[in-house]
């Protein structure tokens, strides 16, 4: 499903102008990463997608729904949002109930709900933890519960706010797998991340925000090639991109495969 943002501005009640005119189209089925300095407005931007925040000016269309006149409850059927901090999101007594909460509220049939819950638990490798209270799990696994409880809603758009924070290598691989699966299903995925290597390995399109504005928007390889511009919003290019540049490669490399291919020549 398509997301269309038109000259979006947002001022917090404190007077802080967090978004200063953002226009953006994210096509159906696109996988987009949003990067940028702390306080650049990344979370503020995506919180508009499911109506948690309402624009001070401008508009957001989720498919054909204008977020200004659509309730958060209704938007939840189109936009799934995984919070940065799982503790802001989880409330059920056990993992199974938590993951079931979303699809049940969307009014899916029992069979469909069961199937979606099963799939979400399998993808996040939580199948053996359905009876555990989410708060008895480590922060890592709680993050997985947050992920599962959103992907079980089967929304056409899924938003991840810093999914890899505090996760180890295995867990990051698991998240990458979830995103690949959503891509295969044709979902639109928007991910905020500071993990630029993860970003390079999993996303085709990258948007860099800086002080409430779009600094760069385009194909990942193009964005990562612009080291000086990225530095304006406190982002370093991926490790292998930096290495390739230091070695004098003409092309911008993003991952191991591209790097080794050039090295072999």
């Amino acid at each position: 499903m398509k997301i269309e943002i038109n000259d979006l501005r947002f001022i917090y009640p404190t007077g802080l102008e967090a978004l200063q005119g953002i226009s953006l189209i994210i096509e159906s089925g696109e996988q987009v990463a949003i990067v940028g300095q702390n306080g650049a407005g990344k979370t503020t931007l995506v919180r508009h997608f499911n109506g948690l925040l309402q624009p001070t000016a401008g508009s957001i269309l989720i498919g054909d729904w204008d977020t200004k006149i659509t309730s958060v409850a209704k938007l939840a059927s189109r936009v799934g949002y995984v919070f940065q901090n799982p503790d802001e999101q989880l409330f059920s007594k056990d993992v199974g109930t938590e993951v079931k909460f979303g699809p049940r509220n969307l009014g899916y049939s029992k069979d469909k709900t069961d199937e979606l819950v099963k799939r979400a638990l399998t993808l996040t490798e939580l199948s053996d933890k359905t009876e555990t209270n989410p708060y008895d799990l480590s922060p890592t696994w709680r993050k997985m519960v947050a992920l599962a409880s959103v992907i079980s809603m089967d929304t056409p758009i899924v938003i991840f706010d810093e999914p890899t924070t505090g996760q180890d290598a295995l867990s990051i691989a698991r998240i990458a797998h979830v995103i690949a699966e959503l891509r295969r299903e044709g979902k639109t995925v928007v991910t905020i991340t500071h993990d630029i290597d993860f970003c390079a390995e999993n996303f085709e399109r990258v948007i860099a925000l800086s002080e409430g504005r779009i600094l760069l928007d385009g194909v990942a390889a193009n964005i990562f090639g612009q080291e000086e511009v990225l530095a304006q919003t406190f982002v370093d290019p991926p490790q292998l991109t930096r290495l390739g540049k230091k070695l004098g490669f003409k092309e911008t490399v993003r991952n191991q495969e591209e790097f080794l291919n050039i090295l072999r020549k």
Binding site: T14, Q37, S138, A169, L260, L263
Partner: protein
């Protein structure tokens, strides 16, 4: 004698069956910057809590062995005395911020207020600490109105301002932007050079290798290996045990198989990778 002395420390949280830490022996010298790495569930945060005195004083549970910092045995001390020597920045800043203060400035002063630092001394110390971590511009904001990364800087600053002899950091940069992360590592390095002892849990191998003196790898509550950053972070043992490695290390390891990396030692940092890959 070492500044931190953990002797055969085994610890079990209440109501759990397996110990979170098992027979940990760790010595850290004054002014040393030690990084702790390990997969989730390895016991990294528990080790931080142990150094900070929360284990066992706050979390209770069963502890054996001895924990000594600055020559004081933790079991014979109390938390209100312990905090004068040891500061801990939490993994999740949301859990650390007091909730009792309206502005970032007041939040950072909170620890000083509670330890009875005179008012005249407080203000310049808070200002200096905020300058160090580059958050002076956030002084009048509410801690809860900040982004995750900004909040994390506030959490770190509110510990630095206490000038602890031992600084314990549990993934202090997890929500920070990449260049901000590098800067914070630089600040922490500087603190260590000024004599502060630092123990820091982190996943960011490139910056650990650039800034830390020593790395301790934890797995299942035990020390798997320890040593110089390059030695530990390029070890096959880490790969076998599900640890993350820097892309320089993983790519050079693959390149070595294909005959494209000629050196014996694998790289962890950009400089090491450039050195080995350049023609």
């Amino acid at each position: 004698m070492a500044f931190i002395n953990l002797n055969n420390v085994t610890y079990k949280y209440p109501l759990t069956k397996t110990p979170a830490l098992q027979n940990i022996n760790l010595q850290v010298n004054e002014g040393e910057f030690v990084a702790i790495v390990g997969p989730n569930g390895a016991g990294k945060s528990t080790l931080c809590y142990t150094l900070a005195g929360f284990v066992p004083h706050f979390f209770k549970g069963e502890i054996s062995g001895t924990v000594e910092v600055a020559g004081i045995d933790s079991s014979k001390s109390t938390l209100d005395k312990w905090v004068l020597n040891v500061g801990l920045a939490f993994q999740n800043p949301f859990n650390q911020i007091s909730g009792a203060k309206y502005t970032v400035f007041e939040e950072i002063a909170f620890g000083l207020e509670n330890t009875g630092v005179p008012r005249d001394e407080m203000k310049p110390r808070v200002e200096e600490a905020m300058k160090l971590t580059d958050i002076s511009n956030l002084a009048d904001r509410s801690p809860y109105s900040l982004s995750g990364g900004q909040q994390q800087r506030v959490a770190l600053t509110s510990i630095l301002v206490m000038r602890p002899k031992l600084l314990v950091l549990d993934e202090p940069t997890s929500q920070m932007d990449p260049i901000g992360t590098r800067e914070v590592f630089g600040v922490i390095r500087k603190m260590a050079e000024g004599g502060m002892t630092v123990v820091m849990v982190e996943h960011k191998m490139e910056w650990i290798a650039n800034f830390a003196d020593r790395v301790v790898a934890l797995k299942d509550g035990q020390v798997l290996m320890e040593g110089k950053p390059n030695e530990v972070l390029t070890s096959e043992l880490l790969v076998e045990n599900g640890f993350g490695v820097s892309r320089y290390t993983s790519t050079a390891r693959e390149a070595k198989k294909q005959g494209l990396w000629k050196k014996e030692k694998l790289p962890v940092t950009l400089d090491e990778a450039v050195e080995g890959f350049k023609k």
